[in-house]
């Protein structure tokens, strides 16, 4: 494989930014954001350079590697810290650095009034570096380092305003729930090491077919657990809604466009594992299908604009996971939806941030309304993202989501019909809740009081939104045209036989569009044509109430894990205090007690000692007499 010594700069540039901003401290306050943005852009430039070099080579020779240093060398087990840039990673590199740079630019303005802006940019750069390491690592162990790095950056950024206890709790919640996923990844690495003797992607791929299916299934399920944690999939999705406590650019970059899609990357990267383990693959599909419905249902009930978008992210990643569980037929579409989603969802989050910026950080959509007149640019960019996510042709989401629905329908048998219907229904609900967000925010009647003075955001904020909006218009077409992305990624995946088509593509597209129209129409009837209450109505159906509570996921987690966990810990504390401490204290007390009893025999009177000696001697003599008699 070709060696390219330029790969390290992709990571080194943002890492340098993060370290220098953190180490220089307040001295860098004045120019730190500029340095961070420049370095992120520099990393993007390196990525583009790599892409141009890659395009010049034949498909087989496109992957390049760079060995940084020998990391672990024990006997026959060797792990190098090496980077691997292939057709899959370059997609991610460009998404991360491209969207990342735009969000850096946006944040310069968005965070301009925050006294800790430098620290914010340091964390953003740290995130970019860690995420690049995640997608560039050539083994599961290298990936794991990046995986933990993005978890750390996410934790730091969710709790960026940690002076508010609720935000600090949200960051802890995200971190702890992510740990469960991280445990899955570390188990997967351990199983791979124990049974295959290697943890590199190429090594595992070589042995994927010789190894027993049980091994591959175990690795696959553990990788799925990892993906479920990081990508906020069912049943570990509860952290994503609370993660919206972080500044909005963070929600856009980390919790919409890049980090939460790491799970999809992991599954697509491990395609050889899942192809060899059909059961694990089936589980992936089930998780994806459940989450896409779950997120969509939660999205319909949220009044907080960011939480509605977060639920939507969950649902869209559900689509990607679903696609990545469909085998070689779906991998390319999972990545395609991931890329288009990166554009439109990041754009919409930035739009939400722009709305909040103009509305004194109000997040409740019931207190918006009629903002179209006051924020025309935000309206247009958000609207383009909206059209993309609900899947209106020719916007980006149409191509990617349509392909996923089609692939799901063609998965064969009852599985295909169930998955296809879920995906179609999800499309309808997506259209409903996104239209709801759109109407409540921009087009319905004004519901804010006159102390608010909504205004358009400055150019540094709307420019990234505009670029992302352009991306959400054209990216789908560009990636779809002539199956560009599919052919680009093809060398990485195994060949798959032709599937029989359940329905012709045009019918599927028609069905999907029909579902979208239904969703939009329902939302228009409910929110545009009737009045919206400023306070969320209380006398609603039990389903709405459950959806408002995230479908009770927090309650389930608390009832199943948190409270029993607390019980176990408090029981353990009691055991520790009574048994363990009791034993230690008991030994001490015993020594003390016996000492105080024995002390009484030491009277200090010579004559009592003499009596004791006499008695002792008498006893001794008696004993000798008894024994020798």
């Amino acid at each position: 494989m070709v060696t390219n010594n330029g790969l390290v700069y992709l990571i080194a540039l943002p890492l340098f930014g993060a370290l220098s901003l953190l180490l220089l401290g307040r001295r860098a306050d004045k120019w730190g954001h500029l340095l961070a943005t420049t370095l992120s852009a520099g990393s993007f430039a390196v990525g583009l350079l790599q892409l141009s070099e890659m395009l010049a080579r034949t498909p087989e020779a496109r992957p390049v590697t760079q060995k940084l240093f020998t990391w672990i060398s024990v006997g026959s087990f060797n792990v190098d810290a090496s980077l691997l840039l292939d057709q899959l990673s370059i997609c991610f590199v460009l998404l991360i650095t491209g969207v990342g740079t735009l969000i850096h630019i946006y944040s310069i303005s968005y965070m301009s009034h925050d006294p800790d802006r430098r620290r914010f940019f340091a964390y953003l750069n740290l995130f970019i570096a860690a995420m690049l390491l995640l997608v560039l690592g050539d083994s599961y162990l290298n990936l794991y380092v990046g995986w933990e790095g993005v978890g750390l950056a996410s934790y730091l950024l969710i709790g960026f305003w940690n002076q508010k206890p609720a935000y600090a709790t949200a960051s802890k919640k995200a971190f702890i729930m992510n740990r469960i996923g991280d445990m899955g990844l570390s188990f997967a690495i351990m199983i791979a090491f124990a049974s295959l003797g290697t943890v590199s992607f190429s090594g595992v791929k070589e042995q994927a077919h010789q190894a027993s299916e049980a091994t591959m299934t175990a690795i696959g399920i553990m990788l799925l657990v990892a993906a479920v944690g990081k990508s906020a999939q069912f049943p570990l999705q509860a952290w994503l809604g609370d993660a919206m406590a972080g500044p909005t650019p963070v929600s856009a970059l980390i919790h919409a466009a890049t980090m939460v899609t790491a799970g999809v990357y992991l599954i697509v990267r491990s395609n050889f594992v899942f192809d060899a383990a059909p059961n694990a693959q089936l589980l992936v599909v089930i998780v994806g299908a459940i989450t896409l419905m779950f997120g969509a249902l939660v999205g319909t009930a949220k009044d907080d604009i960011k939480k509605a978008l977060a639920a939507s992210t969950m649902s869209q990643i559900g689509y990607m996971i679903l696609a990545s569980g469909l085998g070689p037929a779906g991998y390319a579409f999972a990545i395609m939806h991931l890329l288009t989603h990166g554009f439109f969802k990041a754009g919409m989050f930035l739009g939400a941030g722009s709305v909040m910026h103009g509305m004194n950080d109000e997040v409740n959509m019931r207190r918006y309304g009629g903002l179209r007149k006051f924020m025309p640019i935000t309206f247009i960019t958000f609207g383009l993202g909206y059209l993309a996510i609900i899947g209106v042709p020719p916007f980006a989401g149409f191509y990617s989501k349509d392909m996923i629905i089609e692939t799901a329908l063609n998965a064969g048998g009852a599985k295909g019909i169930i998955l296809g219907s879920v995906a179609l229904l999800g499309a309808a609900i997506t259209a409903f809740y996104m239209t709801r967000v759109m109407i409540l925010t921009f087009t319905s009647s004004k519901r804010w009081d006159d102390t608010q003075h909504p205004h358009e955001s400055p150019i540094l904020m709307w420019l990234p939104m505009a670029i992302l909006a352009i991306g959400s218009v054209i990216s789908g077409f560009l990636l779809y045209r002539g199956e560009a992305l599919k052919h680009w990624l093809e060398p990485l995946f195994e060949e798959h036989g032709e599937h029989t088509e359940l329905l012709p593509p045009i019918v599927v597209s028609g069905l999907a569009l029909f579902m979208v129209v239904i969703g939009v129409a329902l939302a228009v009837i409910k929110y545009q044509l009737s009045d919206v209450e400023v306070v969320a109505p209380e006398n609603v159906s039990v389903f709405t109430r459950i959806a408002r509570r995230d479908l009770l996921q927090d309650d389930i987690n608390e009832a199943l894990f948190m409270r029993p966990g607390q019980l176990i810990t408090s029981a353990l504390v009691k055991i520790d205090q009574s048994v363990v401490d009791g034993a230690v204290h008991g030994i001490g007390k015993m020594a003390l007690g016996s000492g105080s009893v024995l002390r009484k025999s030491q009277t200090g009177f010579v004559r009592s000692y003499a009596v004791l000696i006499l008695i002792g001697a008498g006893v001794l003599i008696a004993a000798i007499w008894v024994v020798t008699k």
Partner: protein
């Protein structure tokens, strides 16, 4: 005369000595009682030496006398010192070590 009588005498002397050590308070008297017990033991040794027809017991009796002499020197010195500092020869007064 049976040699047993020496043993009876020795036992009586030892008992008197032991009772004296336990009962009396005056350090000088206690000291004399200790000597009495030592000499009772000497008498026993010598008697058994006589009964068994060997010299071991008599040799050990000499050793005991030497040790007793040393003990007297050290013991009297201690008693005198205690008397000087405390103006008392009662051994119950010299019970400070228990604290």
């Amino acid at each position: 005369m049976s040699l047993d009588n020496y043993l009876y005498l020795s036992a009586i002397l030892f008992t008197i000595g032991a009772v004296g050590v336990v009962v009396r308070r005056n350090a000088i008297v206690v000291f004399m009682c200790v000597e009495l017990m030592l000499n009772a033991a000497n008498l026993t040794l010598v008697t058994f030496s006589r009964i068994n027809g060997t010299l071991d017991g008599q040799v050990i009796a000499f050793f005991t006398m030497v040790v007793a002499a040393c003990e007297v020197v050290v013991g009297l010195a201690i008693i005198v010192t205690i008397y000087r500092s405390r103006r008392s020869t009662s051994i119950d007064d010299a019970s400070l070590l228990k604290r």
